[in-house]
């Protein structure tokens, strides 16, 4: 701040800071505050808003969990969707990690330098296309009479076409595809900083290949794994397009539930409360990952 004043003078610096502050306030803070305010009010007709019934309440938050009957194994629909979103996002994160790790290892350490540029370009090019279009492309690929089923039938791996889009398979595949680069690049960056002589030292001391990865490479790449997992999980949990396009009624995502409460149920308070619960879920996930991987915010910033 002092440096800013020093460099641009009092007037310009004040203007710059004011513009930034207004932007943050209007575009970021204010909408959240409005939503937060909504989430603590009952859903009342316009006429009764501000009236005697308009009191602060936690009922919107509680409504997600009301009706849980663990004894009889009964779960309310919204809560079921919430659990599916957590489980699905975790699965997408895990699949991304498993798919990315060998590729990232290859790009960071094994590939020849002149190949790396080309390979990274090939990774990026598909992401120049709009996310909705890419998701629709998967819709076509995974369709009952689509190319994937034809190919698998042609190779004799399937007897009859598989309904990819009726279960969670399509959503998981689509999301893994949509967010994979957010796992890829943190991993590549992390593995790249590993001194190759550490790998050689481990090999020289008798370590087989899998032990080198388990004891040397993965511990070194931990910050990258943490960053990638956080990104993919948060993006997956808050994704709307992929479940909307590739999902079926039986695989609704929590974002869709929020949408429904806002625009079909006309219950903005409950929609807001659910949105904050989703935010809370992401924060909890981020904090747990940081705890499990024993990385701090500074490691992640790297």
């Amino acid at each position: 701040m002092v440096q800013l004043y020093h460099r641009y003078g009092a007037l310009l610096a004040t203007l710059l800071i004011a513009a930034t502050a207004i932007w943050v306030l209007m575009m970021v803070v204010l909408p959240y505050l409005v939503m937060a305010e909504y989430s603590f009010h009952p859903n009342l007709p316009m006429m009764q808003q501000g009236g005697p019934d308009d009191v602060y309440t936690l009922s919107n938050y509680a409504s997600l969990f009301s009706g849980i009957d663990l004894l009889n194994g009964e779960l309310p629909d919204d809560f079921r969707v919430f659990l599916r979103t957590i489980w699905g996002s975790t699965l997408v994160t895990f699949i991304s990690l498993v798919v990315c790790y060998p590729v990232a290892w290859h790009l960071a350490k094994a590939a020849k330098p002149e190949q790396v540029g080309l390979l990274i370009l090939l990774l990026i090019i598909p992401f120049w296309i709009n996310e909705i279009l890419r998701t629709f492309a998967w819709y076509i690929i995974l369709a009952y009479n689509g190319p994937l089923n034809s190919a698998l039938l042609g190779m004799g791996l399937l007897d009859k076409p598989y309904r990819w889009l009726s279960g969670s398979g399509g959503v998981l595949i689509g999301m893994t595809y949509a967010f994979i680069l957010f796992m890829m690049f943190p991993l590549i960056n992390a593995i790249e900083t590993l001194d190759i002589s550490q790998v050689e030292a481990a090999r020289d001391l008798g370590a087989p290949e899998w032990q080198i990865h388990r004891r040397i490479v993965i511990p070194h790449a931990k910050p990258g794994i943490a960053v990638g997992s956080i990104m993919v999980f948060v993006l997956a949990a808050s994704s709307y397009i992929v479940p909307a396009v590739l999902g079926s009624p039986g695989t609704r995502w929590f974002t869709e539930t929020i949408y429904i409460w806002f625009f079909e149920g006309q219950d903005w308070p409950r929609g807001s409360a659910y949105a904050f619960i989703l935010l809370g879920l992401c924060v909890v996930f981020i904090l747990s990952v940081m705890r499990i991987f024993r990385v701090g915010l500074t490691d992640i910033a790297k």
Binding site: D195, S197, Q198, E200, A201, D204, L205, A207, Q211, R215
Partner: protein
């Protein structure tokens, strides 16, 4: 138990570049052998071939008489100490040392005990539970040695492991390495570009240049009887006189140089008329009281002082050469009379014929 290591006509090519050219050598079991040479001479390539990280394009590498072809680094009885040590920063000192044992499926308690024994051996007790980044340079060095010893190798390979240390520590670690080698009786193969390291520690030194072994021998032989002009120039300092042989007799040669006519040893029996270099070590150049050449002192020069570097134990007197060539260097040991050494005076200096070595010019 230690093993001997043999290189049998080993050649290593990278595309068109020949890094190691037809090197044959037998390193005895329990020997401390150093490869000495400038960077890019192929010494690191040789070490990586012995350790199994590279395979020679031609020739064989034998350890204990067994051809190592097809055996990776984890299947050879060697342990390599890396130039940057390559300790594992995410593991404790004890876990670093025990890593090789862990990979061999050794029981945890046994590993721990072995790590502590080895820390004792390298004079670092109490360090077992420290983190690697808590250690000083010298301590890391010792941990790296302990980690390599833990897998009970028969041959230790060391890739300039002392180069990151400061001078005092480096000298101390030389003695320590030598002591560890004696205590364990292992074959040590050491890579360095530092002639001091090679000469002080080794049983034998192999001097390398451009992928070839120029000379192999004990340190004193390398220093006193360099086989080629390259070895003479790389190991220790030399005053070089270039010229042509005019006379050969009784193992000696008379060389007509730009600085005068000198007599020196001619162990290679180089013939009259050949272009040669005559090499005289700075400590063999001595101040004389005579005025001119005599039959006992055939090599006499009178030169004015260019400048004097006082080194403590000796003074390095630089003497101007008439034709503007590189000044001659003469070491005068500090016997207490050095205080009256001042510039701007003429020294009459000489060297005995047996202290001047005549070699073919340009290593030919």
């Amino acid at each position: 138990m230690s093993r001997d290591v043999s290189l049998d006509r080993v050649t290593m090519r990278f595309a068109s570049y020949v890094a190691v050219n037809n090197v044959s050598l037998d390193i005895k079991a329990g020997e401390f052998f150093s490869f000495l040479g400038p960077s890019g001479c192929g010494k690191t390539t040789i070490l990586r071939m012995i350790s199994g990280f590279m395979n020679p394009t031609e020739g064989r590498i034998l350890i204990g008489g067994e051809d190592m072809k097809g055996n990776g680094p984890n299947k050879r009885p060697t342990a390599l100490i890396f130039q940057n040590l390559a300790l594992f920063p995410m593991m404790s000192v004890a876990d670093n040392i025990a890593f090789g044992l862990e990979m061999r499926g050794v029981d945890k308690a046994v590993r721990r005990r072995r790590a502590e024994e080895l820390l004792e051996l390298v004079a670092l007790p109490d360090a077992a539970d420290k983190r690697v980044d808590e250690l000083s340079g010298g301590m890391k060095q010792r941990v790296a040695i302990a980690r390599a010893l833990a897998v009970e190798p028969q041959v230790m390979l060391l890739d300039e492991p002392l180069s990151a240390l400061d001078l005092k520590l480096r000298q101390h670690m030389r003695a320590e390495l030598r002591a560890i080698q004696r205590r364990t009786g292992l074959t040590f193969i050491y890579i360095t570009h530092d002639q001091g390291e090679a000469l002080t520690m080794s049983d034998r030194v192999g001097v390398m240049s451009r992928g070839q072994l120029e000379q192999v021998g004990p340190p004193s032989e390398i220093y006193n009887e360099p086989a080629t002009a390259f070895v003479a120039g790389f190991v220790g300092e030399n005053n070089v006189f270039t010229g042509r042989i005019t006379e050969v007799a009784g193992g000696q040669a008379v060389v007509e140089t730009g600085a005068g006519r000198f007599v020196g040893r001619n162990p290679r029996g180089i013939r009259v008329g050949t272009q040669v270099v005559m090499l005289v070590r700075p400590e063999r150049l001595k101040p004389l009281t005579v005025a001119g050449p005599t039959p006992e002192n055939p090599n006499v020069l009178s030169r004015s002082v260019d400048h004097i570097d006082f080194e403590g134990a000796f003074a390095n007197v630089h003497l101007k050469q008439p034709d503007g060539a590189k000044p001659l260097s003469m070491h005068i040991s500090n016997d207490g009379s050095l205080t009256d050494l001042v510039g701007d005076r003429i020294f009459t200096v000489g060297f005995a014929p047996q202290d001047a070595l005549v070699l073919a010019a340009n290593g030919a």
